[in-house]
């Protein structure tokens, strides 16, 4: 007897479709040795940079860790996201995914949430630093928490952008290079030296200040690192991430015309 549609339609909701893709993707991350290599390299690099400054400054806080975090994420996030769609195209599984009874946005969101979860697990790998600081002194845990929150939102935005870039190119390396380049622009345009140079080139236009205030993600991230969790910054990162996820779903649909 052929199956009726009713039971299938019940299970075709937004959460169900996203969860099915999420479970497959998260399994694929932790099933692959590359994920462990990424995680190890990131943790080794971020921790060693922090420990170096920690021993030089002898201050019981993590501000140095979070100051360097955006620059590490610029390299680390595109390395995670470059395979998101490029691999589907190279294996031919894009066709398989796009003929399953799931909306493009469910698939995009499932993949995005899986990469975000993987990123959170890697960020959580730095908790031993917090424990070390607590054993050595009395760090400001509220500040550490808000800084982690800033790191989470920044990573979430870079991931959404990286997943989008992976969707518009079929080559992993092209997706990596383009994502790294644009994420670097978002970060470097807020770096004090860059702002100074651009302001100095045309003082009457204040190009550097304009870039810092209008283009860079750093002012929004830095407010988290100062212990300020403002609704404006949360909305800023959330809207940017949502924008690129929606764009990703649209470009996937357009690619089939």
């Amino acid at each position: 007897m052929l199956m009726t549609d009713k039971s299938l339609e019940r299970n075709a909701g937004f959460v169900y479709g996203t969860r099915v893709i999420f479970v497959r993707e998260i399994g694929a991350y932790f099933d692959s040795s590359i994920a462990y290599v990424y995680a190890s390299v990131f943790l080794l690099l971020s921790s060693s940079i922090f420990m170096n400054s920690f021993f030089l400054n002898s201050v019981v806080d993590m501000s140095e860790y979070f100051r360097n975090l955006p620059f590490l994420l610029v390299l680390f996030i595109p390395a995670i996201t470059m395979r998101t769609w490029s691999e589907e195209h190279s294996q031919g599984t894009f066709e398989l995914l796009m003929t399953l009874p799931l909306r493009s946005f469910h698939v995009v969101l499932g993949k995005y949430l899986a990469s975000l979860s993987f990123c959170l697990v890697v960020l959580a790998g730095s908790f031993p630093i917090v424990l070390m600081l607590m054993s050595l002194g009395n760090p400001d845990l509220g500040l550490i928490f808000s800084s982690y929150l800033g790191g989470f939102f920044l990573a979430a935005f870079f991931l959404a952008f990286g997943v989008f870039m992976s969707g518009i190119t079929r080559e992993q390396i092209v997706a990596f290079v383009l994502s790294t380049f644009v994420c670097a622009l978002f970060v470097l345009s807020g770096h004090e030296k860059v702002v100074e140079v651009f302001d100095g080139l045309a003082p009457e236009w204040q190009m550097g200040t304009w870039l810092y205030e209008s283009v860079s993600v750093l002012p929004h991230y830095e407010s988290f690192c100062r212990g300020v969790v403002s609704l404006g910054d949360v909305i800023y990162f959330t809207l940017l991430s949502a924008f690129f996820l929606v764009m990703n779903a649209i470009t996937l649909k357009l690619s089939r015309y």
């Binding site: 052929l2 199956m3 339609e9 299970n11 399994g27 294996q91 398989l96 003929t99 399953l100 009874p101």
Partner: protein, 258 residues
């Protein structure tokens, strides 16, 4: 059950499918024959909702493929030509993933998994990663994934490619068992194979549908009684080429001389 109405698909300046129309009914196994690049896969991709047609209409069980793609996907089981599978996944987990994506859960999912494993002979492949399986097994895993939700319309692009003779025999047997209540539409460039399996043939070349009917009816229509299928196919292709040349000459002859 399936209605294709004047479908055209263009990729830039290339017209892969050119105003093709036909209908498929239940209990039919229909073969789609043509050389490589004839437009078979493109048409199957459009029926599977993967590609959007440039013009024309496609209906599956009365559902507009363009407007109701999700409802169409629940009715269609599609095996793409290059058998795309997640190579790193274990076969059992892969089939479970496809089943869940089709909305199957609990007892129904287990029941369908059991059926697919038995029907496609996948018992030995279940604990292996897909990439560790032979090409024949991979084809059967793809077939299992296409059938797991018990579809009413089964679209198979070069389904026997990579199968050994014994596997081809059991595949034919499976199709015969599946025929009742369903439409099975399969493409192949191996004409004799399609003639063995199918009740009806569609012949396509350079995006044009050259013939539609049973082998006998096409023979009668072309006045080639007794011709084998290869000869019949060559005749249709040559006829198409010569009509193309004559229409081109007529078009050139109408051009004003300068």
């Amino acid at each position: 059950m399936v209605s294709v109405e004047s479908i055209t698909k263009k990729f830039g300046s290339l017209t892969a499918v050119n105003r093709v129309s036909f209908k498929l009914g239940r209990d039919e196994i229909v073969g789609f024959v043509g050389p490589n690049g004839a437009g078979k896969s493109t048409l199957l991709k459009m029926l599977s909702t993967y590609l959007y047609p440039t013009s024309g209409k496609l209906y599956v069980d009365g559902l507009d493929v363009m407007k109701q793609p999700l409802a169409v996907r629940r009715k269609v089981g599609y095996l793409a030509g290059d058998t795309p599978l997640y190579q790193e996944m274990r076969t059992d987990r892969f089939l479970e993933f496809i089943g869940k994506a089709h909305g199957l859960t609990g007892g129904r999912l287990k029941e369908r998994l059991r059926w697919v494993v038995d029907a496609c002979g996948l018992e030995l492949a279940l604990p292996k990663r897909v990439k560790e399986c032979s090409s024949g097994y991979r084809k059967r895993i793809g077939l299992g994934a296409a059938l797991i939700h018990d579809p009413e319309v089964i679209l198979l692009d070069e389904p026997t490619h990579g199968l050994d003779p014994l596997q081809i025999l059991s595949f034919r047997d499976l199709l015969k068992r599946l025929r009742a209540g369903r439409v099975i539409f399969l493409s192949s460039h191996i004409i004799s194979e399609v003639a063995t399996i199918c009740d009806r043939l569609l012949v396509i070349h350079e995006g044009h549908l050259l013939a539609d009917g049973t082998l006998e009816s096409i023979r009668r229509q072309e006045e080639l009684g007794g011709a084998d299928l290869e000869d019949l196919f060559l005749h249709l292709v040559r006829k198409h080429e010569s009509s193309k040349t004559s229409s081109k000459n007529a078009h050139d002859g109408q051009k004003p001389r300068t």
